[in-house]
Symmetry: D2
Subunit: 355 residues, 4 copies
């Protein structure tokens, strides 16, 4: 259920509607938009009786939402979500957001060498794994908190924002403490316990698509995070599993315009995991920007051949510079292609106010 | 690495080898077989120097295992793993192990009605969800500990062994306390943190295959559990995600002989989730038993049309009886088809002792 | 559109309805059933005006068929199609139909050695490729007409019915001349030109499911054959392409009850191509019979290791005997499980006659 | 096998090597390169004895090709294949090749309206179906030769080159007569009989990737065409079948750099079939050009809502203009990204000449 407020509704009126919703035993999610506020209702098993709310001051209408997701939907929030950071960086705005760094933080020297290069290239986000979900229990599992501390130093020294993965509730506590963006990996996309914990965190969440997740499952995973109150969710396509065998996964770029049409959330693309092959990362990065992604997350290493994980798909530092040169030329052609985003479809809320 | 002991090796000799392995900084997993004991070595990043162990009394040979999994492999343990329970029930023996019950425990009355029927049919394991991983945050999430308590009562009253799912470390603590078998669901097959916790539990683990898991990933997930010391692992095929659209998933029955060839672990099949359609459950149950599965896990409900989850795929009680009648006729044809299990391939260990 | 005739309708009345349909510019397909005749109408782009036919003598009702397939549907023909051969063999009856033989006819001696063994085992259909669709233009492409002649000799000598593949219109002319069943391979399942030609042949057609065909596409391919007037179509599941990598294809056994529910056509399973691995053929054959397939098509070779194609998946002659022993024990458990076939759903036509 | 000739080898020497190859019972394919000629040998079941050829004048070396494809490989031909047309248009050069037009030719007026618009936009290739492979036998199957005649008029009037599909040997005869490029559709990618016929045609072939074709199968299909002597093959990615359900197929753009690395053949992308949804065609067209495709094939219609087939995915005329504007801005960023094409890997042939 979604309550649409009048464009001139006061804060008190919004507050009164929220209070009424909570009295009915549900949860209210006020979502301010450019022109009006909408209030999502969650926690209801079945129908909410609209009469209980429709008559309150400032309410334009109460809409039944037929899709299984609510808070992630453009029906609820027409404007694009822009995630904003203290240093002025954004994800979801006109600026192309690029996240770069090694698969895993291996040691202080490696991490700093890569971070320095990445910072010079003008990128504002640094990635690096401290807790690594590995297929084998006998593979390098990451440095843990020590890795987080190295990344915190990198933020201090280079002004880069830190993006790193949490793999369970314990590591999420640590990641929330040290990092700027909490990454939930593809293998945990339906770890609902972890999603709920991320929903209670005070940092933005980067949610990667599961290896065989449909679009609806992907959006529902984001809904889990948002339903706990954390609205700063960034989606990320990283390839899906198919029969195709010359790349590690099949990068499904069509999901980008599909997400932009259905949801207000930004979406990045990870061509490193999406292909698993170094020589494919740059062409697919160009394609990701051209299709309209809000940014990229790319693995870069100063010595890929000695990397403790994912070396095969990590770019050399100079390759990364070349990638940035190319995508910066393509970005202006596609940025702000609002027509792709299907905003026209959601004019219902605006016209509703004209009554 | 795998240390093969002489058929006449004493317990002291086995103990001495284990001690040496631990002194070298690794972890020793003694695995008693029908004829001899093998000792798996895990925790080594690279090579272990065989010379350090090969000369110890009772050692026949030290084998490098090239596959990424070790403890799950038939190379390490030739005989089938049979999981045994206090009441005499088994999984992995000649007896067909059938687990039946509702998707979710909804209330005392529903659970008891189904359990009574299941017990009468001669089945020895009861399933029921207390913690439900649901695609939507707004769907019924299970009764939690209250559900576990209902199932504990069912065990007391009907003598059924309880199989139920844990979704995070907290719920695993509870499940370990109340249930007989800890289920790890498909969505958590690569939740490595949870797998490790299950590996430290004192109850057997039923591990479901992930929706797009390769056979190697599936076995590696079992390896995570075993590498922590819990060797009572039961695998479960429950359908994989493909383009095919008339069943919820595509039940991949070829995995059963493939698992039996590579691993000593038993494998069940879940035709309820594997098809998602009631009318397909009985034919695919017959096929699962015919292909050689060690058992079935089937959803049954006294009132499927009113089920809070998965009603569409739950059998009516009478349909379940008919299913049992059919699979009991097929089981004798295929039970003990050791030729399918490729035991002949692992005679190396036996012949080694003849030297 | 489907015209249902009265149970007592005369041949003249059926003929008059067909004539009227053709006058309207469409095509009439009279389909005699156990109780009544139904007449399918094809060739209509959009709606046929029912009034033009409904008033004719002997017509009970005119039904709009909403599914895209008509002639293959149980809505049109309630009773199972049984394909009958001169020597009394059948496909689709209670008898399990087994087709066995080598992938390709390599020479006279090889073919006869295998045929002799197959005939002794009580099997009634012999398969062998004369025209081989090979991935590489440089692989053995089959003996062509010479191979067909060898198979014709085998029919004469052993009384086996010959099943062999046609790959284009030219080879179909030859296959129709020499063989008893015309096979259309998976790669040609949507070669609509070839399907139409097969629809004009006077021999039954064995139609294999394409590697990534949905159930609807599979049934529509059969509809192509039937729409040209050949109603003796046998479907065959042979594995679909998925991410799964330990078998050549993923055998999708759920399709068997799904076909039986939607269509009156029989369906075989090919576990040889469906797995591509010899050690999996027997377990999956058991499963195929247990799931309710009308029969099997299996590759057998007297010297698999020297086979010119598909040796890896061909059974040794003794393995085939063991397979037959096992499936003959399972068949009686599942034969005639009419409940699986959903006949109850099509009682509409019967009850219609009661008016 | 591949025979590499000296850079200064004369035509007579090349001719003599070819003659020798044919005397040995094989087929010779001389392939002139920028610096030297290579001669592919096909038709050999097993090994060719290199000694028979290596000693001939002008031969540098005889290379065993381990990949199953030969003529399509960059090992055989280092330089990109550029398909050239009489009017100066090319596919595979620096020029972006765009093919546009309706799914099917419906009538003279529709075809001309679209062609006029396409010609004005500067596009040089016109597509339109005369023979349509349709899933249903009851759908519009195309105008046949009448459609070809309309397209021939379009060539005369607007100077557009005609690209249209052949579905069997008979229609290929017609298409070869009227059109400039013979299209082989996805469903016929492994119709080997048709591929061989196309290999004997005197017009270039546009070969679409099958719905579930691996890269190797795709290249082997091209090898079929080339092995018959037609070297003007253009590949086309049009989406593969996966579990993903919000687009008709999943466009697999990684195949573009993969093809460029392994093969000298050009590759187009078809975002219309690759997505099946109009709103996704322009974003994915941008991505296709950005990833490095040699061109696009796009469905455009003057009245998409009245189209007899594929209307849902056809662009309005104005949308096509906007698409062209965008891709023309992106093309210069990526054209000539030879580094992506892995030419460095094939310098072996050049360095060989230095000996």
């Amino acid at each position: 259920m979604l309550v649409v407020m009048n464009a001139h509704a006061t804060e008190e009126q919004v507050g009164a509607v929220c209070k009424r919703i909570e009295e009915l035993g549900f949860r209210a999610h006020p979502i301010p938009g450019a022109q009006r506020t909408a209030i999502g209702i969650t926690g209801n098993q079945g129908e909410v009786e609209p009469g209980a709310i429709e008559e309150l001051p400032g309410v334009v209408e109460v809409i039944r939402v037929s899709k299984p997701y609510k808070l992630v939907s453009r029906d609820v929030k027409e404007d694009n979500t822009v995630v904003r950071f203290a240093n002025g960086a954004t994800i979801g705005s006109e600026e192309l957001a690029v996240v770069a760094g090694p698969c895993a933080i291996e040691n202080h020297k490696q991490a700093f060498a890569i971070a320095e290069h990445v910072a010079k290239s003008g990128v504002r986000f640094f990635r690096g794994g401290a807790y690594k979900p590995r297929t084998s229990p006998y593979s390098f599992q990451g440095l843990g908190e020590e890795g987080l501390k190295i990344m915190a130093e990198i933020r201090d020294q280079f002004g880069l924002l830190i993006v790193t993965e949490a793999v369970d509730n314990e590591s999420l506590d640590q990641v929330e403490k040290y990092a700027d963006v909490i990454q939930i990996g593809a293998r945990n996309m339906q770890n609902f316990s972890l999603l709920k914990r991320a929903g209670r965190a005070r940092k933005p969440v980067l949610l990667k698509r599961g290896m065989s997740a449909t679009l609806e499952e992907f959006l529902m995973a984001a809904e889990y995070v948002m339903s706990e109150g954390n609205y700063n969710v960034v989606l990320c396509e990283r390839g899906v599993r198919t029969f195709s065998d010359y790349t590690r996964n099949t990068l499904d770029l069509s999901v980008v315009p599909a997400v932009h049409r259905l949801s207000h959330l930004p979406i990045l693309v990870d061509p490193s995991h999406g292909t698993g092959v170094r020589s494919k990362v740059t062409p697919l990065s160009r394609a990701s920007v051209a299709v309209g992604a809000d940014g990229l997350i790319v693995e870069v290493h100063n010595e890929p051949d000695r990397a403790l994980s994912d070396g095969k798909q990590s770019l050399y530092l100079e390759q990364f510079d070349e990638l940035m040169t190319q995508v910066r030329q393509i970005a202006p052609v596609v940025q702000r292609k609002v027509a792709d985003r299907g905003l026209a479809l959601t004019t219902r809320l605006n016209s509703a106010s004209a009554r």
